[in-house]
Each structure stands twice: as C-alpha cells, then as structure tokens.
C-alpha cells in the first residue's frame, strides 16, 4: 500500500465527491448516448441475480398467498354472492357461445376458411419486480435454452401483459403495458375503431388518438390491433373505463400486480423495435 502524507490524503478525500459527481454525469451521458452498454450491464446483472430471485420467489409467494387467503376468508360472503351472479351470466353466455360456435363451423365450411396457425409459446416464471419509480417492468427467470426473443408478446392467463425488451441468458425483462413508455395499437372491438393505448405508470393506461366522431364506449372490449406489425390482431387487452375526470382509460384483463407466470408468444413479428436490437444478429439456435 502506498503511504500518502496526511494533507495529500485529506485533499484527495475532499476531491472524491466532485469526482464522483462528474463520473455520474459521465455515466448519464454514456447511458443516453450508447443504450447498448446500459442494456448489456442491466442484462448481465439480471442474469446474475435471476437464480437468487428464483430461489426467493417461492417463500415470498407463500407469504403473499397466506395474506391473500386471509383476505379472501374475510370477503367470503360478498365473493359468493358475486360469483353466483357471475355464474348465472356466464351460463347465458355459454349457451350463446355454443350457438355461435355451431354457426361458425357451418359458415367456415361454406367459405373454405383457412384458420390462422396457432402461434408457438413458452412459459416463464416472474421472479422479481424489474421496474422502479418511473418504470413498470418485471423480471423473468428463463432457462438457458428457452427461445426468448426481444419483441415477444407476454400474456398472462387473462390478457396482454407487455413486451419483452431485454433478453439475457437466464433472465428476460418484460416492459408492462402500464409503463410510461409503452404504446400499444388497439382496436375497440365493438366499433372496430383503431386507437393507441398509452401507459401512464398508473394502474390504468389511457386511450388516445381515436378518430373523430367515434368515442370509446364505457365497458367496450379492447383487443390489440396489427397496425405497425408489433402485435398480432385480436389479443385480449381490457375494457374501456372512464376516469372520474372523464378520460378514457383501459382496465386491463391481466392482473399485473400478481403475475407469477407469463406466456411468451412468438408471432414472428419484428415491427417496432429499437434500431440496435434489429441490427444485432438473432441468437443462434441452441447447441446440443
């Protein structure tokens, strides 16, 4: 170790803070100028932490399940009444669906309809919150050979969750539909009107850019639109709700606050991806 004189050491220690502040500005500029470096660093860190989170996820879920259980015990009566009412309604829908299915089969036979191929998907576990104050994202633990790709669409069992934005060897990050930077082209199912769903970091994304004269209706179902080639058409997203201030918002079908598994669909779409991720070569198929 180098021995320094006391005044020199004091001067050095006084200099560290300004130096570090300068370095902070430097990293900020670097992160802004070269997003690939920041992304690589994030992915490397996520890869290193993913196994740890995967181990921790199980006990944490047990705690959360215990709390949910206690809460549901308290609400048993109201839940029961609600479910009975919902069951009644679903029974009616069931009859309607059967009739429609029969009609659909008949119509397809008459028109030689070629059905869409079922997209391939794989499932990944959500292990940690991947977001912060101004980001809504989750971290997935993936297996080394799992074919996860940037731009894949993530759905839970109910509806759209978000899109894969970063892929490491053992982890992947999904930007949620509620994130401030999330923009999803949508179709209002009743009127077939196209619009955009903008994330606001709040629980309910806003609807914007619908054509003049066709206002979204409260309770209308929203599905994704194939505009721009980022999403396939027709994935369930949510329903239209109006906020107290009169803004059109989306109540998502997906339960973003209690995700544990997501399905990652590969629709083979390479729509809007940042330029650097398009320029990068696709990961090679897994070696045996």
């Amino acid at each position: 170790m180098i021995r320094l004189s006391i005044p020199l050491r004091q001067a050095l220690s006084r200099l560290t803070l300004p130096l570090m502040v300068a370095a902070a500005f430097g990293t900020m500029l670097l992160g802004k100028a070269d997003t690939v470096i920041a992304e690589r660093a994030r992915t490397a860190l996520a890869d290193a932490l993913a196994p740890l989170y995967a181990v921790m996820a199980e006990p944490l879920r047990a705690v959360q399940d215990g709390l949910d259980e206690a809460r549901s015990l308290l609400q048993l009566r109201t839940d029961n009444a609600r479910l009975r009412e919902e069951n009644e309604r679903l029974r009616r829908w069931h009859a309607a669906a059967l009739a429609l299915e029969a009609e659909n089969v008949m119509l397809r036979r008459q028109t030689n309809f070629v059905p869409d191929s079922t997209p391939s998907f794989n499932t990944a576990r959500v292990v940690a919150d991947g977001g912060g104050t101004y980001a809504r994202a989750v971290l997935l633990a993936t297996l080394p050979g799992q074919p996860v790709r940037k731009g894949q669409v993530a759905l839970d069992e109910r509806g759209l969750v978000g899109r894969v934005t970063e892929v490491g060897s053992r982890s992947a990050r999904v930007l949620l539909a509620t994130d401030m930077n999330s923009r999803v082209p949508i179709t209002l199912e009743g009127s077939r009107v196209r619009a955009m769903m903008l994330g606001t970091n709040g629980g309910r994304p806003r609807i914007a850019h619908w054509p003049e004269g066709s206002v979204p209706q409260e309770g209308e179902r929203i599905v994704t639109s194939a505009e721009a080639g980022a999403f396939p058409a027709g994935l369930p997203v949510g329903v239209v709700r109006f906020s107290p201030s009169g803004a059109a918002e989306v109540e998502l079908f997906a339960q973003l606050d209690r995700l544990d598994m997501v399905r990652l669909f590969d629709f083979g779409l390479r729509g809007i991806l940042p330029p650097e991720s398009v320029a990068r070569p696709e990961p090679r198929p897994q070696r045996r």
């Binding site: 991947g130 101004y134 980001a135």
Partner: protein, 185 residues
C-alpha cells in the same frame, strides 16, 4: 484433558492482532454499503411496489453518511446508485446523482445532525426525501425531454419517509454494536 489451564481466564477477550484485526476492521467498514446493496437486491424481489427499491436505499445512504461517513464514501454511494439504476430499469445516472447529492449534503451537515434527536433527524430526512424525489423527477424530465407524471415521485418520497424510522432503528443498533467493537479493539 487433565492439563491445567496455563493462565486464568481473562476478564475481557484479548483483541485480535495483525491480519485478523485488519480483517475485522475491513468487514466493519464494508458492512454499511454491502448491507445496503444486499437490502436493495432483496427488496427488488417484491412485486407490486415499484418505488420500494429507491425508498430503502435513500434512508441507508442518508443514515450512514451522517454516522459512518468513512464507510459510506462517495465511491460506495456511486456504486449503490449504479446498482439501483440497473435494478430499477431507470436511465443510468439518475439514481447515482440523487444519492450523491443526498450524501454530499448529509455529510456536510453530519456534525450538527448527529447530535440531534431522532425525531428532528427524521423531519430533516423527510426534507431530503422530498428533495431527492424532486431531483429525480427533474432529471427524468431532462433525459426524456418530456414531463413525467409527478405521482410516482410523491409515492417514492412518502414511502422513503415512512420507512426511515424502522430502517434507522436497525441501523442504529448495528452502528452501536460496531462502535462498541471499535472501543474494545
């Protein structure tokens, strides 16, 4: 074992010498930043509370900057900020700058702050949390060239202020234990 003890039991354990003593001091000095980093990583596992990670790091940096400034050095604060930015998917540099600002001010005022009552320090911390949230919001706005919604920042400041007493309680215990060990060594 029929061999008699060579000397009577001492009243106090003899302090370690040489390498062990150095190791002891090293780990003591490393505890504040390392424990904060571990807490950061652990807290990131909780889903549904996005502002939780910065809200636990801020009290830790503030507390250790006042009471153990040699351990929570600017370099350690820089590393913690970088880790926080990487884990929370924030634009890199925002967490680093806010934490360094908090560290710098807390370090400058540490002599008076260390003598104040817990309640007074908490009130001061609330001001720091509000300032850090405002600075973070401003930097986000500058980097994105658009105004982000203010609610997440407010949520972060409130969360940090609310978490401070329990975190400070634990850190005070650790600080006292370390000081005791230093006096004995």
């Amino acid at each position: 074992m029929d061999r008699p003890p060579t000397r009577p039991r001492p009243g106090r354990q003899e302090p370690a010498q040489g390498f062990w003593r150095w190791l002891d001091a090293f780990f003591r000095a490393a505890l504040p930043p390392v424990a904060t980093a571990l807490l950061l990583v652990f807290v990131a596992a909780f889903r549904g509370a996005p502002a939780l990670v910065p809200a636990v790091v801020l009290p830790a940096v503030f507390f250790w900057s006042i009471f153990r400034p040699l351990s929570m050095s600017p370099v350690a604060v820089f590393a913690l900020g970088l880790l926080q930015d990487l884990v929370t998917y924030a634009p890199i540099g925002i967490g680093i700058l806010t934490l360094l600002a908090v560290h710098g001010l807390a370090f400058r005022w540490r002599r008076s702050l260390a003598g104040w009552s817990f309640l007074a320090v908490w009130v001061v911390f609330c001001g720091f949390a509000a300032g850090a949230a405002g600075l973070g919001w401003l930097l986000h706005a500058l980097l994105a060239l658009s105004l982000p919604p203010p609610e997440p920042s407010v949520q972060f400041a409130l969360l940090a202020a609310g978490l401070y007493p329990s975190l400070a309680f634990l850190m005070t215990r650790a600080h006292r234990a370390m000081r005791q060990a230093e006096l004995e060594a």
